[in-house]
């Protein structure tokens, strides 16, 4: 029988895998490189037919909790997020390691080594390990698809959440994937122990002991599941531990997969200790290839009770930061580096910028005139979204971008310290993600801040996903207690520039919380709508 093959991004392979493996609900917040998992499910006919939950959540924390609730009710669920999104979801994530799961629960986290679209390159494997949650790290699109099936089995067998860790290269790379027959969704069922999810200290202590006890079983699974492999090689001068995509970059350097060194391919954690110990016994030194931070390399030094030379990112054979690639691995293997010609000097950098006609540009033009030109640079706290590009020329208008929602709270803290003016700039989707609670703080303290909510009615930077704030920004701001006289609406277009500047000046004169809402649709979503209307 020829199996059906689909051409899928890594993200899409995970979504299709989950649909085929009987998922009942996806929960997530858009974040590059994880966004396409839920987008795919939203466009999938099969997901619609199976009535699978697939709308966006307000943030990663609410997503992880939603997925955990679905697991409590006995069904298979998945939370999706980018690596920094896991920081937002850490509270439910770490505690779900202790509560465990009922229906299969997978938390898919997409890391971004080299920071193609992120503030940092933290490695989610470390957080999975921290929470005692087993981790799957597929090295290609087919494994990503197949591992979803296995992940749900593992989750339901041990009643534990499972982390699926991918990185940008897999998330956004397309390849052929053979798909399997679909599994029916679980019937709902409550946990056998009705106090399983009650983390009162007495119960939590008991559950935590169980979780610690379970680790040896999870380690055993890592030895026998088949995802981790010991591949023998003749040349024992070096052994290689190749994790996730590191395995691909290793094999890329040998013709017909003929790597002369013994290799342990690691795609499931906790690490397969027996395989690694065998490798160390047999080889003079060990090279560790891993995407992200040197987690296995660090662990290895604690795992072994004998001296063996361990090389990798810590020892400097591989760069400490940035994603791996075939050439970096080549150099670590002791093979000569290959490179084409250097980039000619005349090639100029081409950083991203706001789209032509974007309302954020009008916002920054007005803001610069009213604040930067008058009070100098250094007064504007911003946030995560397209408007972060306001840091670059020609605007150079903002002074911070730290985490989702930090614009408001940092402006408030700076105002508390006496900074005037203290301005915050956030988008509508980021506002409902993590900005509302910060605004409440400012309202309760009557802080002297001006908050700009650049309402383009979408989650722009990730490609125009539905914003949870859609159509309700003013209501939310009012509901949080901002004085209606200081909630100012403006259509950010060129002809309104003077009016915009005047509004800012008026609110600068007011000592308290002001919210200015420049509201105009995102150029990209507008273009898509116009295009769709023409068809």
């Amino acid at each position: 029988m020829t199996k059906k093959k689909m051409l899928l991004l890594g993200d899409e392979a995970i979504a299709q895998g989950a649909i085929d493996a009987g998922i009942s609900g996806f929960y997530g917040y858009p974040g590059t490189p994880s966004t396409e998992i839920i987008e795919y499910a939203q466009h999938s006919k099969e997901a619609a037919e199976r009535n699978i939950h697939r709308t966006w959540s307000a943030n990663e924390k609410t997503a992880a909790e939603g997925a955990l609730g679905m697991s409590y009710a006995g069904k298979r669920s998945m939370a999706t997020m980018k690596h920094v999104g896991l920081n937002v979801a850490m509270d439910p994530f770490v505690n779900s390691g202790v509560t465990g799961a009922n229906g299969g629960n997978i938390v898919t986290v997409a890391d971004d080594p080299s920071m193609h679209s992120s503030q940092n390159e933290q490695d989610s494997r470390i957080l999975g390990k921290f929470a005692f949650i087993p981790i799957l790290e597929p090295c290609d699109q087919q494994e990503a698809y197949d591992m979803v099936f296995y992940g749900y089995e593992l989750s339901e067998k041990y009643k534990t959440p499972v982390m699926m860790r991918i990185t940008t290269r897999l998330a956004h790379s397309r390849a052929g994937v053979e798909v399997r027959d679909k599994i029916a969704q679980n019937e709902g069922s409550l946990p056998e122990d009705k106090r399983q999810f009650v983390l009162l200290p007495g119960i939590a202590r008991r559950r935590y002991k169980n979780v610690l006890e379970m680790q040896k079983d999870l380690k055993n699974e890592s030895e026998i599941s088949g995802w981790n492999k010991y591949i023998d090689g003749k040349d024992k001068s070096m052994g290689i531990i190749a994790c996730g995509l590191g395995y691909n970059y290793l094999m890329e350097n040998f013709v017909d997969d003929e790597c002369p060194y013994p290799v342990v391919k690691v795609c499931q954690y906790p690490v397969p200790e027996k395989m690694i110990k065998k490798l160390v016994e047999e080889c003079d030194k060990v090279l560790v290839l891993e995407e992200g931070m040197p987690m296995v390399e660090e662990d290895l030094r604690g795992l072994l009770d004998r001296d063996v030379k361990v090389i990798g990112r810590i020892s400097g054979e591989l760069p400490r930061d940035g994603e791996l690639d075939p050439n970096k691995v080549r150099v670590a293997l002791g093979m000569p580096s290959i490179k084409g010609e250097a980039i000619p000097e005349l090639v100029a950098p081409r950083p991203p910028k706001l789209c032509a006609g974007c309302g954020h540009a009008d916002m920054y033009n007005a803001l610069n005139e009213a604040v930067k030109d008058k009070y100098g640079d250094g007064h504007v706290f911003s946030d995560i979204g397209c408007y972060t590009l306001g840091a670059l020329p020609p605007f150079e208008a903002i002074n911070s971008c730290v985490d989702m929602g930090a614009s408001i709270t940092m402006a408030k803290g700076a105002a508390d310290a006496g900074l005037f003016p203290a301005i915050a700039v956030i988008g509508d989707s980021t506002f409902t993600h993590s900005g509302m609670t910060g605004l409440l703080d400012a309202v309760l303290d009557k802080s002297n801040v001006i908050l700009f909510i650049g309402d383009n009615s979408t989650t722009g930077m990730t490609g125009g996903q539905k914003s949870c704030a859609e159509g309700r920004v003013v209501q939310l701001v009012k509901g949080l207690g901002v004085d209606p006289d200081h909630i100012r609406m403006i259509n950010p277009v060129k002809k309104n520039h003077e009016e915009f500047v005047k509004i800012i000046e008026e609110e600068l004169a007011f000592n308290g919380v002001s919210v200015i809402i420049p509201q105009r649709e995102c150029m990209q979503t507008l273009r898509k709508k116009t295009k769709a209307a023409k068809k």
């Binding site: 490189p33 966004t35 956004h172 790379s173 290959i338 084409g340 081409r350 490609g463």
Partner: protein, 193 residues
Amino acid sequence: MKCDIILAGVGGQGILSIATVLGYAAVESGLYLKQAEVHGMSQRGGDVQSHFRISDKPIHSDLVPLGKADIIVSIEPMESLRYLPYLSETGYLVTNTTPFINITNYPKIEDVLAEIKKQPRHIAVDADSIAKELKNPRGMNMVIAGAASVFMDLDFELMKKSIQVIFGRKGEEIVASNIAALEAGREFSLKNK
């Protein structure tokens, strides 16, 4: 058979439609394919690239190794040069000559074209003009895809078929004009290689 390609351009120019056409033809031919794309922040008018790999054997890395690309295919001249470290000693550089200027320090176009001409194996085609002559200015991408097709071991008929599949729902006229663009690009390369 293996062919490693770096597709280059500026975010929003649509390098992915070239990848889609090539990808369809490759998969129809029963080849393995891996294609790494750029999504997210860098799409907003910044430099973008896609690593496109096809082979009759399984492919490991999603990234083309440095110095191993068989072709750089670029829809913007300066962007074609950004990826020279990937081009192999025997590789081809296929690029559009019409610049996309959205930065203030864009170099003189004559200097950019002079750099391109230094490449021993290059095709520099004014894809924008060819597409305009065909009354299909948006078919510029397909001109470039056609120009690059000469250096790939892919069935050209399958590439035409993929245009039919991909643009089919937009109507026969669009399909025909994109196939014409693809053919014009191929013809240019055959004459100038």
